[in-house]
Structure formats: structure tokens, C-alpha cells
Symmetry: C2
């Protein structure tokens, strides 16, 4: 297979740009009205390059479309509905999720992607004076939210193998958050470790960010009935192929969800729009499609792991829809740039401890085949 | 016309419920993890009653559907797009708005309805120690946002005729916000008064909430080039018949919008979903439809004002898509409850200075006809 047949050079190069931010004077002296402005250093999302003929493996999207029922539900919305405010309570979607997970509706919260749910959770639950704890290698939005709201925090180093040492979280704190599986490593923590952390912290809310749990992890769902202070956050963006619709949710005790609802209704009454409410419910309705899609993604992931190993890569045993790999001879940044030049977008984090790694989302078998062919050729040429 | 033919009793009564809020212990002693929880007293949106056969004049929605191009744009979205994250920059929609208003894209911000834009603006711009100023009678979300973020504020009494005295805003403050036309009064302030306030406050951001400006008000748009500290906030929910899609935006200086973008990207990278981006651009594209729809709403409004006057009501000269009226003999709450019982939903605020008034959204001519028939009969029977 000719790489050029499926990969088109897009002429761009360099690391991802930061989102546009107007003219700033962060380091200068602020005068007049600017003195009252909040200092925010934003999160940098993965690139969303336009144009066709690229292979996009950089933001952990699902390579498969959502089930046909989702599009049908959105297309069936009528003009008269567009003019009216959506249900501020998002009642129907919350009930769908409640039924699916076997909990009451009052234990389900929905938001504009899991980022919205997490941003509001930081605002709601991390309002004490003690530092919030999260791993040093983790979803890079956590410190952004903490800084935005002025929440004190402390990052806790993961072990050398990127696993959590639960004893590190058994100390005074103002809250705890970590993803499981972790991002960008894909490392899955066992349920007993999570329970130990939750049990040891009755005075703090513990948030487990389960954005990737559907790809083969064991959810902390069974713990919810025993711990009032546990919040699980999920998303439709990865496993449910609905990144474009912006749907996230949280599961927790009635008390926890009640507090979150209060803050949500103090921020924006109507966050979920008509198409997202319709699409979310339709996604939940097609379980066989969902299962089949998950099977395909995890099957390709395991195959890709083996193929990368054959090319000399090593990495974590990711249980997510991405792999996290390093090559002993070629710097990750070189690989990132070469791939980008070839129209294959992966994610590279220029951060301590992980700057030798690439995070590569699991695409279709054809996309991953193209990636592997390119890497094989590139590695051979570098020798 | 038989009222019963178009109005169906829905069997409910009483004032609107507050949104569900779980089990709260606001006034009790908080223990354990609850000590770190933010105390939020949410905004109460107008009811979104389900079921047909009601006349909904309570949340200032547009009674007409959006133009056909909007539905077409949403229906044409393809399955493969649903799986991908939308453009985090919302570049295409921002460019549409920029072209429409004759400004650069970097002077346009978009959000999940104007509530999202306003919530983020409070967080961004009202970060000083001095109190933020807004009228005592105004959009009732302002104090909710201030309380949510712990922003000090002071409400400034409107004059007896519900107009602003600009001299009240010529003092030390941490920011200023007011709607123009005001809600729920519909009173429009002239441009020279707004300019006087903006000019007198170079050390504060002044936000003019122009949610209703399309219905016949003069926008402060011409002031934007002269005042770096002026932010105008708009919405697609009222004049553009897209309440269900959640689209709001702000216009301001590059510097102001840059700061707002920084906070937005520190909160949620992807706020605008695929259908809202598509619908927003399609709405802007059909100017003749937009103009015709505005003409219809304002024409019905002026007719309703006269008819209500004939029934003994008095009120403001509203320039919004609602009227704000009081009856000399019948308490507003009685009218509110009687209308509700008859399936006609209007808005009643049990607040000082305005508890004798009803805010009635402008529906179709047929809906308003039914309202007037009911009121005429009700007033006659009460005599």
C-alpha cells in the first residue's frame, strides 16, 4: 500500500498552536479595567485540523460513526422545537442513563461533555482551604481548573510504572481526582485500590474520571452505594462516538448530585441543547451497536500493541482507546513531527516524565495499518 | 372563538417549582466532605411545561420557527462528523457573526446561550474587590452569578419609571452590567446615556446585555470602536428562534474578547456542539426571513399593548418581545394563577417593586388573541 495514497501532506509543521487569546499583558503591568480581569492560562486541546486525507489519532475520538438511530433522532427534530428552550433538567436523558446504570435519576448529572461536568465539579466540591490531590501525570485540564478558581492543589507523583500508590492519598486534603484508566498513560487501577482511597477520605469528595472506562476497565460503579463522597464522571465522546455533540455525565449519591445541580443552575439553566438531548438518548437505546463498536476498538488496540512492539516500541498496557508508547532510539518529538508532516496526527506532551512518549488514538484497522507502515519505513530510514 | 378549544387545563396550580436540588442542608451543620461544598442558590428558570395545548408566554421564546435553512444545515450533518470534536474555536460561526456586524473575528465570542457568555464574563471581568453594580430590577441571574463566584455587588434602584439614572453609576465600582432593553420591564435606554456610563468608567468593564435589542432597540454597537471596556452580549434564543440550540455571543474589543477566550479555554475547550455551530451560521445566512419575523413580533406587540390598555392595564413601552403590565384592580398573582389554570403560562416575579406586574411574552397573533379573550372574560367576572 502506498502511504501517499492515504496520507496527504498538509504543509504545516511545528507543535500545536495555543488557542487564540487576543492581546495579553500577562507579564506586564495591568492598568484600568484590566486590573479586575482574571488571570487564566488555558488548557491546550489537541488540534482539530481541517481538510480531508489526514489520519486523526490525536484526540481519542472514536473512528466509527454513532448508531443510525442517533442521526435519525436529530433529523426528526421539528422546527417548532428549535424555538423553545430545552428541558433545563435534561430529565429524559438523565432517566435513560439512570435506567441504564440501575440508579435513580437524582443520582445522574449531565453536562456539555465531561469537561463541563468536571469544571462544575471543581467549582462545587473543591471549595475548602486544603490542597486538592491528583497525580503528576494525568489529564492536563485538572491544574487549569484549579488555577481558574484559585483552588490550592498538590500533584502526587505516580510510581515509575505510572501506577498510583494509594498511601499517597491517605493524608489531609481538600479533595481527590484521578482518571481511571489514567490519561495519557492508559493505565487501569484495580477497584480495591480505588475503594481504599475513597474509604480513607470521608472528609473529601473523590472524583474518578472514567472517560475511558468502557474500553475494558472495571468501573467503580459498585462502590457508589457504599460511599456518599464518590463521584464518577463519564463521557459520550469516546466510547459512544459523539464527541461532536458534547455530552458528559456524572453518577454519585443524591446529595452529591444535588449540590452539583445547584451550582449548574447557578451557572447556566440550559446547558444541553435539543440535538444533544435527543442524540444521547438514542445512543443509549442501541446497546448491540455499542458493544460491537467497543469490541472492534479494543481488538484493533491489542493488535496495534503487538505490531508496535515488533517495531521496537514499548509502553503501558493501555485499557483505553489509545496506546502510550516510546521508542528506545528515536525521540518521541521527532516521531511526532515526522508523522504530522505525513498527515498523521498523534499527541505529544512536552512534559517531565512523559516527553519520550507518544499517545496514539486507536483508529480503524486501515488507519492503524497506515500508521504502522509509515513508522516501519521511518525507523528503517533513521537507522 | 371558544377558549377551551385552544386552551387545555393542565390541572396544575401554584407558583413555579424550584429546580430539583437533591437533599440540602443549607441551614444545618455540614459535616465531612460537605464542608468543602460551595453554597449555591440557583436561578429559577421559567417553567418548561410539557404536553400540547398550552400557550407558552413565559420565557420570551419566539413563536415562529427558525428559517428552513437552519433545519437543513442540521439534517445535513453526517455521521462521521458526529464522532469528531467540533472546532474548539468555533471559527466559522464567529466569522459569520464578524462579517454580519462588520468587526474582526477576534472581536466575537460565542457560548452556550447568552447565559454561558454572561457566566464566563462575570468570572473573567468582575475579579476585583470593589462591588459590581446593576439595577435593582433586572435579569435575576446577575446576583446568582455574583454569589456563585463570591463577587461583591450592589444593586442600584431604578427610577420610579424603571429607567436608569446614569449618575448612580458614576462612582467607584468593580464592573457594571445591565440589560438594554431591560428585563423584565422592556424599558429601552438611549445610546447617549449608555455612552455616558461607559465613558465615566474606564477602570471597569461595562457589560450591556442586549438579549432583546433586535426587537426595535438601538444597539451600543457603534460605541465598540471607541471604548475598549465595553462588552455587548447577545443571544440567538429570542430574535432568531433558536432557544433549543443554545447559542449566545459577545462583541467587544480584541483585548476583552481575548481575556474571555482564555477563561473559556480554561473551563471547557469544546462548548459549542456541531448542530449549534451549523444552525447558528445558517440563521445568519437568511436575513430576509429574520427581518420579516422581527416585523411580525413587533407588530403583534404593539397591537397587544393597545388591547391590554383597553382592558384597563397599564405598563412600560416595551421594546422587547414581551410586555410588562399591571392592572389597577386585580392583583398580578391572581391573574398569573388564573391564566396558568387555563393553560396560559406567563411570568410573575414575587419581588419588591414588580410584584404587581406580569411579564407576557409575545406569541403569535392567535395566541395573543386567546390571551386577550381570557383576560376580558376574567376581568368582567371579577367585577
Amino acid at each position: 500500500m502506498e502511504i501517499s495514497a492515504i496520507i496527504k501532506r498538509n504543509g504545516k509543521n511545528g507543535l500545536p498552536d495555543k488557542p487564540e487569546a487576543g492581546e495579553k499583558e500577562r507579564n506586564g503591568l495591568r492598568m484600568g479595567w484590566e486590573k479586575n480581569v482574571r488571570n487564566a492560562v488555558p488548557y491546550t486541546p489537541g488540534e482539530q485540523p481541517g481538510g480531508g486525507n489526514i489520519i486523526k489519532l490525536n484526540t481519542n475520538e472514536n473512528p466509527y460513526p454513532p448508531p443510525p438511530g442517533v442521526l435519525e433522532a436529530v433529523r426528526n427534530l421539528e422546527a417548532a422545537q428549535y424555538s423553545l428552550y430545552p428541558d433545563p433538567d435534561a430529565g429524559a436523558l438523565r432517566q435513560c442513563l439512570a435506567d441504564y446504570y440501575g440508579v435513580e435519576k437524582e443520582r445522574v448529572f449531565v453536562g456539555v461533555g465531561s469537561d463541563d461536568v468536571l469544571a462544575l465539579s471543581f467549582l462545587t466540591f473543591f471549595n475548602g482551604g486544603r490542597p486538592v490531590l491528583f497525580p503528576d501525570i494525568t489529564y492536563s485540564f485538572y491544574d487549569v481548573w484549579a488555577n481558574l478558581y484559585g483552588i490550592p492543589y498538590r500533584t502526587v507523583p505516580l510510581r515509575e510504572d505510572f501506577t498510583i500508590d494509594e498511601k499517597d492519598y491517605m493524608c489531609e486534603n481538600g479533595g481527590i481526582i484521578f482518571p481511571n484508566p489514567n490519561a495519557p498513560t492508559g493505565v487501569l487501577e484495580p477497584l480495591d485500590k480505588i475503594e481504599a482511597i475513597v474509604r480513607a477520605n470521608p472528609n473529601a469528595v473523590v472524583i474518578v474520571d472514567e472517560a475511558y472506562i468502557d474500553f475494558g476497565g472495571e468501573s467503580a460503579l459498585p462502590l457508589l452505594d457504599r460511599y456518599e463522597n464518590l463521584l464518577l464522571v463519564r463521557t459520550f465522546s469516546k466510547s459512544r462516538s459523539l464527541a461532536g455533540l458534547r455530552i458528559g455525565f456524572a453518577l454519585g449519591s443524591k446529595k452529591l448530585i444535588g449540590y452539583l445541580q445547584d451550582v449548574k443552575f447557578s451557572f447556566n439553566s440550559y446547558t444541553m441543547n435539543l440535538p444533544s438531548l435527543a442524540a444521547g438518548a438514542a445512543s443509549i437505546a442501541d446497546e448491540p451497536y455499542f458493544r460491537e463498536q467497543l469490541r472492534k476498538v479494543t481488538q484493533v488496540r491489542e493488535w496495534v500493541k503487538k505490531e508496535l512492539q515488533a517495531l521496537g516500541f514499548s509502553g503501558t498496557d493501555s485499557r483505553s482507546n489509545f496506546v502510550f508508547v516510546t521508542h528506545p532510539k528515536i525521540p518521541a518529538k521527532d516521531l511526532f513531527l515526522a508523522l504530522r508532516e505525513a498527515g498523521i496526527y498523534v499527541r505529544y506532551f512536552e512534559k517531565p516524565r512523559i516527553d519520550r512518549y507518544l499517545r496514539i488514538s486507536i483508529g480503524t484497522r486501515e488507519q492503524m495499518h497506515a500508521l504502522l507502515i509509515f513508522l516501519k519505513q521511518y525507523i528503517t530510514e533513521r537507522k
